[in-house]
């Protein structure tokens, strides 16, 4: 918990721990009718107050602008295609009776979309679990085991974090074809695992290093095997880091389009792929695309809001992907 606390402080302002009053209150005569010129410093105080108000208003304005696109998609997904083709979503603010769940009801009977949503789950969950598990073993070895070439291997793995997906799609398409998993969910999962692992190793190693050496040494002295030290000492302490990695990988895979376009077929297509197919005729399919896109982003948004502290930790620890 403590580790997560320090890792997640990015979201909160650094508040002074203690508040020390330096101005000693002076005794003043009872207030009388105000007279005379304003006290010196009033202009300055007013200026400061005004600039505070301006800052607050600016920030709230920017925040509103930042929220509007998402709000717009949500509103559009709740209006009929007919309404969307004539007026903007904001007219629904004045006429709330435009809003209807019709599109979502239709979506629930749209087999292509439902299957693709399920495919997204089938791709995302194994990719996430595998990356966390496989990555944790590797990170443990690279942190707590002594063997020749360790630093060299680590540097190579970390450097591979930035390799563009595009470099690997053609060769891997050929390889998967040979293995017979081209177009299958397994191929998509495998690709995501491969591209998730370098970052996983980097993130987890960064955290494992912060575990006190004595703790590991003591566990070894007690006769624990390396597997036992890993499972009983290191892993239980690494909850926040594992969570950060899992969320990172989850969002990455859930949101992917490129890998899906290459390695999935209509059968194994995730939601991003299915919606992209609909986008060829954007305005006539808005009643499918709107709610589909909103549904597809609602899961990452829930994950984001529920675990934002861990997500921030992940972003801060390995901000390159």
């Amino acid at each position: 918990m403590s580790a997560a606390g320090t890792a997640g402080t990015a979201g909160t302002a650094a508040a002074p721990a203690t508040f020390v009053r330096t101005d000693v209150p002076r005794l003043r005569p009872a207030p009388t009718v105000p007279s005379g010129p304003p006290r010196p410093g009033l202009v300055r105080r007013l200026w400061r107050r005004a600039s505070e108000v301006v800052t607050q208003v600016t920030v709230l304005g920017v925040t509103a602008v930042w929220l509007l696109p998402t709000l717009g998609l949500a509103m559009a997904s709740l209006r009929t295609a007919g309404d969307n083709s004539v007026t903007g979503w904001w007219t629904a603010l004045a006429e709330p009776n435009q809003l209807t769940v019709e599109n979502y009801v239709a979506l629930l009977s749209n087999e292509t979309i439902l299957r693709s949503l399920w495919n997204t789950v089938l791709i995302t969950v194994p990719s996430t679990v595998l990356v966390v598990v496989v990555g944790a073993f590797a990170a443990y070895a690279l942190t707590w085991l002594e063997f020749p070439g360790r630093d060299w291997l680590l540097v190579v793995l970390v450097a591979l974090i930035v390799v563009p997906v595009q470099v690997a799609i053609l060769p891997n398409a050929r390889l998967f074809d040979l293995l017979g998993i081209y177009g299958h969910l397994a191929g998509v999962v495998l690709f995501h695992v491969a591209f998730g692992l370098p970052l996983a190793v980097f993130l987890l190693r960064g955290f494992f290093r912060s575990i006190p050496q004595d703790l590991v040494a003591a566990a070894r002295l007690d006769g624990g095997s390396e597997l036992a030290v890993f499972a009983r000492v290191v892993l239980p302490l690494s909850g926040p880091a594992l969570a950060a990695l899992a969320i990172f990988q989850f969002l990455w895979v859930w949101n992917d389009l490129l890998v899906a376009l290459v390695f999935a077929t209509a059968e194994s297509a995730p939601i991003t792929y299915a919606l992209r197919e609909q986008m060829r005729a954007f305005s006539s399919n808005i009643d499918v695309i709107g709610p589909g896109a909103f549904l597809s982003m609602s899961v990452p948004l829930i994950v984001f809001f529920a675990f934002q502290r861990y997500f921030v930790h992940g972003v801060l620890a390995g901000s390159t992907k």
Binding site: L73, L153, V155, A159, Q166, L190, F191, M297, P300
Partner: protein
């Protein structure tokens, strides 16, 4: 070798084997394989040397993509980093910090596809549907009110001329005392305002005077150029009276379409209905058209990533020593000077991390362009990542596709070296 060293080695092999195998086969080896494929023909059957690279650097399609990538790499990371810094500094001193930062950071969780759908709606060209154009038109019309009679034109045979900029002028000259008739057509009935009355020519009298009306009776029963019953005057038309090319008077028509400039005497005048009466209404910008598509897509990218920059920079901000900032303030530095001379130098390493991360990310940009640019303008908006995809999977030219993949890889190589160096310096001793 000690027993312990042996255990370590054996365990390390076991623990690392899956990672090394998977990453080696699916990430590292493809780099080499791509390079090899880039030297071979479209179907991979023949060795063609550097032909694919020559094609890549000479074909107009990929050259445009590379140029677009250059725009992306310069603009997007800069704007995102600067915005992130501004957001980090500003949100630091307002109420509701957490909520505000969460809202700004939220787009990071959204897929490029969902963001693309979202911004298709934002950028819709029709100001009745697209939020951005609705806002742009509203602002525009506040400062430059919409013209009262867009699309109106002159009645044929009336002798009136439409000059180049769209203004309507009388032929020849007009003398004071005469009544100038300016019949207009091409206006739908609902273009006539509610307060307009049936057209009435002004009574004869001193000065330049005249009538502007909609020369059209329902059922087309009237006579062209003549004020028939049931025809309406056009109020609020800006009328200019000219002499020798100079505007000598300006007035507006009344509810019946009449105008009078009583103080003018003599002859040699001409009457002009200003172009501003007839200009088509402003309909906003074609965001996803050929000209603006790349900036528009970059705009949506900024929306997604500004929160990332803000979060990383505000974490860095927390480590800027309070005392340094306070000392600057005591020395009389303004807020801005404090930021520029104290905070930013302290943040330099963090800003570098953010910028480099963004550059690497921007180089590979693909989904957002594919989703947001309408099919017809994709060539204008294209980037390397997208060209690579099309070359490989639309044209099935694996040689050319691989050459582009290799170029992309070469472009991120400095980022790779930078990461490795950072790791060596910070973590490996």
């Amino acid at each position: 070798m000690s027993a312990r060293a042996r255990t370590h080695r054996r365990t390390a092999v076991l623990f690392l084997a899956p990672t090394v195998l998977i990453v080696g086969a699916l990430v590292a080896y493809p780099i080499v394989f791509s390079f090899w494929m880039s030297l071979r023909s479209a179907d991979g059957s023949r060795f063609v040397g550097l032909a694919n690279y020559v094609e890549m650097l000479t074909s107009p399609g990929t050259r445009r993509a590379i140029a677009n990538n250059a725009v992306w790499v310069v603009v997007a990371p800069t704007v995102v980093t600067v915005l992130g810094l501004m957001f980090a500094v500003l949100t630091d001193r307002v109420r509701l910090v957490k909520a505000v930062r969460l809202a700004l950071f939220m787009p990071m969780a959204i897929s490029f596809l969902a963001a693309g759908v979202t911004f298709r709606l934002v950028y819709d060209e029709d100001p009745n549907r697209g939020a951005l154009n609705a806002a742009v038109v509203a602002v525009h019309d506040t400062f430059a009110p919409a013209s009262p009679y867009p699309g109106a034109t002159v009645r044929e045979g009336s002798g009136l001329r439409v000059v180049d900029d769209g203004a309507v002028v009388t032929p020849g000259t007009v003398a004071a005392g005469a009544v100038v008739r300016l019949p207009l057509v091409g206006l739908p009935a609902d273009a006539v305002p509610g307060h307009a009355g049936e057209a009435v020519p002004p009574a004869a009298g001193p000065g330049v005077r005249g009538l502007v009306w909609r020369d059209f009776t329902p059922g087309d029963a009237g006579t062209p150029g003549v004020v028939d019953p049931g025809e309406y005057g056009l109020p609020d038309v800006l009328v200019e009276v000219l002499r020798d090319g100079e505007v000598v008077a300006e007035t507006y028509t009344d509810a019946y379409g009449r105008f009078v400039v009583p103080e003018l005497a003599g002859g040699g005048y001409s009457v002009r209905l200003a172009a501003g009466n007839f200009t088509e209404p402003f309909r906003g910008l074609t965001w996803l058209g050929p000209g603006l598509v790349t900036p528009a897509i970059i705009g949506s990218y900024i929306w997604i990533w500004a929160g990332f920059a803000m979060v990383v920079i505000s974490a860095g901000l927390a480590s800027v020593p309070r005392s340094a900032v306070d000392a600057a303030r005591v020395d009389g530095a303004s807020e801005w000077q404090g930021l520029r001379l104290v905070t930013v130098p302290f943040l330099r390493p963090v800003l570098a991390v953010v910028a480099v991360t963004l550059v690497i990310n921007v180089l590979k940009i693909f989904d957002l362009v594919l989703v947001l640019a309408p099919e017809s303008v994709q060539p204008e908006a294209s980037v390397l990542g997208l060209e690579m995809y099309h070359a490989s999977f639309t044209q099935l030219n694996t040689g050319l596709g691989s050459a582009m993949a290799v170029l992309l890889f070469a472009l991120v190589l400095p980022g790779m070296a930078w990461r490795a160096r950072l790791l060596r310096r910070q973590e490996l001793r």
